[in-house]
Symmetry: D3
């Protein structure tokens, strides 16, 4: 049996990133992973939250949201419900944590990086697309500062991208699940890795199911491959700016 | 003295509408008025709020929001603050009221039309662009129903569009203010009108200023002209679907 | 056909204002417009919100509320629901904006004027009665400061009053709608004007209907007349204090 | 030493009650106890909360609020803060509980009595004035039903009034404290009693102080006297309606 | 007729207090009164709320909560509901007020004492057990400071304990009601008293009933006896620390 | 270098579980893992949330909370802040998901299992202790039903326990981190596994760091060992009830 859209088990969907998508933010990108579309923006604010003040270190805060009709059924807005739902909170905490792993907060100085990921259209993998796109927006925003006022150490220390892997009945481990696959997957795992091939975060969940250590290993191998391809695309999109990653004067 | 972007006082900015912008909603459009960009979607739900149940009538609810970086400075999300701010509420009430004026709720039957206007990029006139775009999304969504299950009376009874007019120091009355003009305008007025040239809503505010009846009249004349042009564009975008407006078997 | 309470189309209801209605506030008035009764108070606080600090300018914030049984059916309190409803927010923004148009915030200095309008009994026109009454309370409160510590320019630059006009089936344009008329009106318009006859705000809404430019003109003429009468009453109620309006040393 | 306003230790302030104060509610009264003024209304709804449905019994819910400038300093509205403060909650629970003690909920049938106490002006004793006034509004509202559709047992079984007593330094126990006395009292006690002289509620608090059993007894004696006078006034205000209290066919 | 658990009318349930129950807080106790179990902790923070800053005085804030299954039926968490319910608020205000009556806030200095009472298991009398236990936790926490940095006046000026009394049909006045008794009691009264036998707070409520002055007196006598026993237990539990209460150098 | 408390890298802390810890819940346990103490309760409600009604399936909802002084510094209550923080939400979603993986919701029938985990004292690993304890409380609660009304298939299909593993500088991979270790760990991973040795959830996070695939493998091996020991303890605590796990008539 093969995947419903004809992909091989180790194929990513088509990935497009349109940098400088919006006129106002310091960094912005529209990332498309198949039919999933997310606008990622990065904003730099020249102060930090109270708990960090005076320590010479920066901070990164991420927010994630979906338009009500990003989904097949209309989803009620968090603002209308008066509170952020648990899934949203979990995702924005994940995005922030992932980005902090490849940003040297000391090199950033007393600044806050606000990263906003707004899903325009959802077809599976919105959180991993958000991370992959947010990396580009954030790097662009910091490159803009670097132009006028060079960092002695560019705060972005490595590349960062994310994808999903999972196990589908009668097919086995697959890379980059779309919505149809995600809904029927027995196991769903999100992987976040760096340009140097190290893990930043692994979140694997048996969806009312469980998985063996061997299955886990197969999924990890697929994911490593996919993330490596995503990082190649990031480098193309960033062009010369990509050279700043890991830069130390 | 002339307008900062070279327009005549009675010029609209460039208006573009991309219909069927998203894959999931029944109706969707990306409307651009100059640099202002709004995604408008229409969702049809086969039930009505409790207070209307059993009356054979439909309802229209509109929601409006801006991405945090639609604006020059990042705006905090309503969802994060835990409540919808006053400006947002005012705008979404306005959009819903305007649309209800050209929809025959009886002909709609016991359905709710959810209209979502999400501002991707803001450069003045987001509420009027939302109304003009929402009209297109809503008409498309109803046309989709009409295809499979024709209405004896199509619920949309007339065209509807909106624009702003204002008075700018040393220039006088102008049509379709962008952000720069809006910030410095002495008077700001939003006009919503129908295809038959009647008023649906007038909201004119002296911004820490006042205006005479003659100034009011000059602004109204400018606005009538602009709205007529917007409706011409709506007809082109809708194509054959435009003929359904006002249709009675 | 004539109005249900026998008034001519250009008649206001009976208007009474009882100044110094409460013992604690710097300014307070009970305004009655027919059966509509609103307690308006003005409070002066010697500081401004954060965004204005250090600019030598003042601010005006208005709040509006109705007692649960101001209305025929009991209305749930906003405090019990845990959030302010959209209509309330819209009205308090309107009141604040209107008052700011006739107060010189620079002359006011770094002070906040809190205006509270609490509807004790509602019979149509509560927002316009609130504005008309709030003007009196605010002027009194500032006059109290002026006594002990004269302003070189009294911050109130002009009179301000508001009324409603509308179009009623088989009657046509009428002034100052009560609740019965408001419920059946095809068009409902609130007008706010100054003592010098200039417009501060126009808000006209076709209630699931529309209106022509000629109808608009007829309503404006009625409104101008009504507001002029209201300002005459304000002057009587304020007595000598009225002379401070527009005063420059 | 004597009380600051010249009253004897066992004097109430001047008490006035204006029944049928508002046009809409089934029962309403403006009660004045000295400078304290409270609008009390009673609303009858023909259903009960979910937890009581189908039991043939009624319910009483009380809400209490103060206008922002009922007080010397402006108090922020609960609706603006987005939650009801603890003092307000405590008071509205107290009022509801007190009224339920003299209403036969079975005789009331499946109805909810909503009692709203809105303090227009505060000068001490607002919660006790609310209870004393609410009793009158509630009895009137039930009498109105009784006219058209007589109860076999009138649900109000006894009169009910409330007052405060306290201990003031150098003066000792006093009746009906105003704001000045309340602020400096060492002990503050609210008493709620019935027409037959029985206690419904005693709430005595040493304000960062304590009191002996003898002091307690002296306060109770003062309170009994005061409440008896308040009930005499209630009877006058209610006129013939007073005879319905305790009525059984 | 006798009490359902065989106690005499003037018997307390078995009272146990386990001091230093938790490893982190400055003071903590697990108090058991029959089957009612409450964890009380005291936290000392070296600053005061804004309204007290710079006055050289301290503050005490109490919070009270129940585990969802402290009760026979699961109770929804306040955090899940998004607001604190009225009963909880009433209780935490009561606990704070009671503790402030026996703490010299001046001697405490600019510190805040946070007292947390978390009910692990509820069987009637949770608020009075909370107060009795909180006294011990608070005294321990202050004794810990006193060791390293002796107060010239120990801030705790007297002992403090609380219990309930009530009237049960066919039995009459009883001391320390458990849940079964509380549910059926006609009158329910909470008493808080000091080691010197003075009242701090009396809260007596006829539960849809009323009570005479004689019944009140009988309840007070029972309560005085019970509180005296509770204070004896507190002294044993505190050991030498008990000597600090009322200590002045 | 060795662990700060002398444990081997593959040692769990001392684990104690006290079943039937509370009198009211259907299932309850106090679990202690070193100094971490959590009260876990299970409540069975005979209905399901709306989205599941009529499908013959049950549901499991978990809630997690910490007492304010479970921690070294006092933590503000979610109820006081008016919203649940992100960490709490993430944890309660995790607990619920984990338990659903070993409960056959069809065999459960239309019932909701409420699982409450309240941390009394925190010293690292509160979420994994919660899961391990919740399993016991839930199994007991279902066993209680089974006694009176046997399931044909006992809904608990396998054992379930959780622990943490991590990498500590100069020590390497370790099992079951306490608070001191957790604070300094470079990588922190939570593992949830079944009695049959399959994974339910893996959540590994580089704390502002990253990890290699080999390091991941070493951590997984440690975790498998630890969970196997925890399940042995669960079986002892459950006694005969353990035999019901996986039971099919």
């Amino acid at each position: 049996m093969s995947r419903h859209d004809g992909r091989e088990t180790n194929d990513l969907r088509t990935v497009l990133m349109e940098p400088n998508y919006l006129m106002h933010p310091e960094g912005s990108v529209l990332i498309q992973v198949g039919n999933t579309k997310v606008i990622c923006t990065a904003t730099i604010e020249d102060k930090v939250p109270g708990f960090l003040r005076g320590q010479g270190k920066g901070w990164i805060t991420a927010e994630y949201s979906m338009l009500p009709r990003a989904t097949a059924e209309r989803t009620q807005r968090d603002a209308t419900r008066g509170k952020i739902n648990g899934r949203t909170m979990e995702i924005q905490r994940l995005i922030g944590r992932a980005l902090r792993s490849i940003v040297d907060l000391g090199a950033l100085g007393e600044r806050t990086l606000w990263v906003d990921c707004d899903v325009i259209q959802a077809d599976g993998g919105t959180r991993t697309a958000s991370i992959t796109g947010a990396f580009v927006a954030l790097t662009q925003a910091l490159a803009k500062i670097h132009e006028s006022k060079p960092f002695s150490k560019f705060p972005v220390t490595d590349f960062l991208a994310a994808t999903s892997v999972g196990i589908i009945d009668e097919i086995g481990p697959v890379l980059d699940l779309d919505y149809v696959e995600d809904s029927s997957a027995m196991v769903d795992m999100n992987l976040i890795m760096t340009g140097s091939g190290r893990f930043v975060e692994i979140q694997g969940t048996g969806e009312e199911a469980t998985f063996s250590r061997e299955e886990l290993n197969n999924m990890l191998t697929l994911g490593e491959e996919g993330i490596s391809k995503l990082i190649t695309i990031q480098k193309e999109v960033l062009g010369e700016t990509a050279n700043l990653v890991g830069y130390v004067k």
